[in-house]
Symmetry: D2
Subunit: 301 residues, 4 copies
Amino acid sequence: MKNSAILLISCPDQKGEVAAIADFVYRHGGNILHADEHADEESGLFLMRVEFDPKDFDIGLSLFNTAQAVHPSSVQIGHSEFARHFEPLAAKFQMKWHLALSAHRPRMIIFVSKYDHCLVDLLYRHKSGELDCDIALIISNHPDNQAIADFHRIPYEVVSVTKENKTQAEARIQSLIDLHRPDFMVLARYMQILSNDFVNRYPQRIINIHHSFLPAFIGARPYHQAFERGVKLIGATSHYVTEVLDDGPIIEQDVVRVSHRDTVDDLIRKGRDLEKVVLSRAVRWHVENRVLVYGNKTVVF
Amino acid sequence: MKNSAILLISCPDQKGEVAAIADFVYRHGGNILHADEHADEESGLFLMRVEFDPKDFDIGLSLFNTAQAVHPSSVQIGHSEFARHFEPLAAKFQMKWHLALSAHRPRMIIFVSKYDHCLVDLLYRHKSGELDCDIALIISNHPDNQAIADFHRIPYEVVSVTKENKTQAEARIQSLIDLHRPDFMVLARYMQILSNDFVNRYPQRIINIHHSFLPAFIGARPYHQAFERGVKLIGATSHYVTEVLDDGPIIEQDVVRVSHRDTVDDLIRKGRDLEKVVLSRAVRWHVENRVLVYGNKTVVF
Amino acid sequence: MKNSAILLISCPDQKGEVAAIADFVYRHGGNILHADEHADEESGLFLMRVEFDPKDFDIGLSLFNTAQAVHPSSVQIGHSEFARHFEPLAAKFQMKWHLALSAHRPRMIIFVSKYDHCLVDLLYRHKSGELDCDIALIISNHPDNQAIADFHRIPYEVVSVTKENKTQAEARIQSLIDLHRPDFMVLARYMQILSNDFVNRYPQRIINIHHSFLPAFIGARPYHQAFERGVKLIGATSHYVTEVLDDGPIIEQDVVRVSHRDTVDDLIRKGRDLEKVVLSRAVRWHVENRVLVYGNKTVVF
Amino acid sequence: MKNSAILLISCPDQKGEVAAIADFVYRHGGNILHADEHADEESGLFLMRVEFDPKDFDIGLSLFNTAQAVHPSSVQIGHSEFARHFEPLAAKFQMKWHLALSAHRPRMIIFVSKYDHCLVDLLYRHKSGELDCDIALIISNHPDNQAIADFHRIPYEVVSVTKENKTQAEARIQSLIDLHRPDFMVLARYMQILSNDFVNRYPQRIINIHHSFLPAFIGARPYHQAFERGVKLIGATSHYVTEVLDDGPIIEQDVVRVSHRDTVDDLIRKGRDLEKVVLSRAVRWHVENRVLVYGNKTVVF
């Protein structure tokens, strides 16, 4: 796999940023492979993603540690050599920034309930090399998907959730997270609601797949809602989880055509294919450090 | 143009309907060109569209008059010869039915405000033979689109609408309708709300284009709403108008991809292309008697 | 699963066919669930698919045997009771016809080489109930996919193919087919060419997936060809195999957008998702007896 | 309209280019609005588009003249002040470059035969402000589209083409071009073949719309070819014209689904909508200086 360094930047829009950043990389021996930027007129924000070849880079990048260098914060890497060199520039432009190395494979935990199509799809893509991350663990409130986890040799933990044990169950989940230290988590059709406290602990680090074209059909049974409304297309939406149900920053959406001939079961079947591709794109882009959040929106570079 | 007869049927689902209808057409010398049917499990309804070549049909069809034979009611043609022959069968199966002749070009009135893209598109498609209907009149609350109407030699009436004159304006519109006797009406980005009384007078005869993927972004400024929400696709929806805003039976929808690079103006521009194709498909299907309404949904055969 | 009978018919277009067929089903107590027909103007052919509920059907359908009642021929079921009743009608209209029962699960053999994405996808869909067929066997020229076959408990036979042993290899494949008696076969990225003799033995019974939007990029390495040409969309095509390479009747196609940012590897990755959905749709439609071939084209009802 | 300067660059890929270019713009007071770049691994080429706000730019840009500053060559602007400042940098990196000002509206000549849908579409988009260019002239080999040209007050010249007068006709076209000095030309369903000499005179300055998904169905009557082959999607392709028929660099493509129900006429009708959007996108991107050609491919920034 190609080794590259990815610098993600967000700051107030002002003159000279691109030049300053490109010059910094160049002066230290980096070769820019891709550069993408976006100036958001409404918020006055400037967002940038620079991917460079660090082969001849004269600043040591070895101290980075994925378990610490958690997107989107750069606090944890404040003592590194790169930060020491980059901070003056960052301060001048009031940058929030994050550096990632493609050689560092982020660690993912997958949550799943009974529906297994997204889980199976992610496991297959991971196995075939589409997703440059490690799967630390699968957490489920049901034992049903143990076999496929075993086939892929991924640890599988059942955490049953009932009305009565919600708090204990989440505490158990938290202890699994503390143990496995994921960089991010994916709700691959996980049918339990996580508490606000939990969600707020991992901003932009929990990716969900909702089986509708949000903001249409928020909440439960969206395919049934779509069937009732008589829409001619159904959709799926992958987004970062926030406190408000199905309201977080959208990473990816797609749709497929339906007709009067399709029953609710047909919608569910067609929707499975949508959910798989939409979620897997979002996960891949997150893994490749392509997603930047501003306000309640995302840029996908 | 091909001359054909189109029989639209809606009745409780029961055995023998297809055979009875096909046999009726055959016995009277009709040659079935297309037959489509749909049994809706939820409502227990059976819907059918039979298009047949009436060349050797032994029942006279000449008495039909589009200005009277208004879809979806068959009351007006109750005295015709066809009805006399078909009624026994219709009664047996409790059919609601409608017969249309493709040779009869339905009459359309187009409503438009300032945005002219849907109007221009419909006029061009009409001129180039895509829409087998006659355009009786264009009604607008602004004089802006007079020139394009003149170019196509379609009468253009300006009915200004203000807060104060709403009732009089609608009365004026009603008198224009009474004069021009349209079979159906199209709101091609007409930005005025029509009264419930008016709307209820023309069930399944007023087609609207809404510039969002309904039921997302109901109401005003949907592109701005879409921009705010950060969706990755925008849509357009064509539907029959009912009392409830943007809630009528959906005839057609489509979407196009957008990204963080697209401003609201880009959404509006991309949306125009969507609105044009979505509305024109709905109008063409309506003209070709392909749309059947059941509950709040449509079948498009 | 719903039990239904599916009657597929192909005959010269003439008056009274729909009535005669619908009447036949009705007279014998069948309730038509879906009826689709198509009259092809060029060839003068009439094609029909009638799906009916055989619960009260007064002709015994139990004698059918999928291993014999091979689509698209009806010769094998000539002695059945249904045939005895239907043949007079069939003779009158010069029908070629085939009757299938949804309760009969057709038997499929999957061929695969090293690329496993289509195989894994078909196995998963089969397991999750999307494909109402039985997988009799997987044949591969490589041992690589044994593990996934084992996981799904499907027999897996390796038949190595070299320049020297082509004839013996095909003989070995033939003996496996004779043993397992499939109703149809699927080439799920099988990279060996089958002989004309072999292919001609199974008309409309071998489904292939080609990784381009045919007829563009016939032959080897279509993604490389597409990359060279600089196309803005790539495609995949599922078709019945005939003597002429990549030229058989097309069952399904789809495309996905690419850009200058996509390398050949990206095209291959994006293409995998296309290939999976396109092939699986074709297989499902074939299993559900929805595909009728006329000339070198298909109707998908 | 927003005033911006667009710098297009193509050069061998090497370290420091982005930094050097961004620094140049910054040092002279420009504010980068958008920057896009692409490094093509195969050819080793680096391509870049930088759009900047020239409000405080300290190099005069007023000398540019669209009639001279013809994309993709920069020869004509060699004497300008910008060139004087930029040339040392350009020489160092062996850049081919072009500077455009969005305030300069390029001049377009449209060629059309009888089919008017693309012409009407371009004229409407131009009128509604979607295309920031001027339409100098419409050239047609038929008088049929005079009326729509008159409606839009665009000069319309008929140059009849017969087997016998091909050379004279092209000479007449050339004289019209010499008179009207377009920056680029659009073949909006122009059914005559232009000579190689003519085509070679205007590299990357003639945009054609071909009514198929190239490279499928090259040459005449592609919709008939598509119908014969039984494809499930039809396409349209916009490309720069080169000597080899339908082989130039592709700017944009799109497709739409068709089925056995669609006749050739339906394909033609559906295709019209495709052709309009595909051609208009290509023209808009060309006008906005978003298209860069490398080898036989395009980058669309």
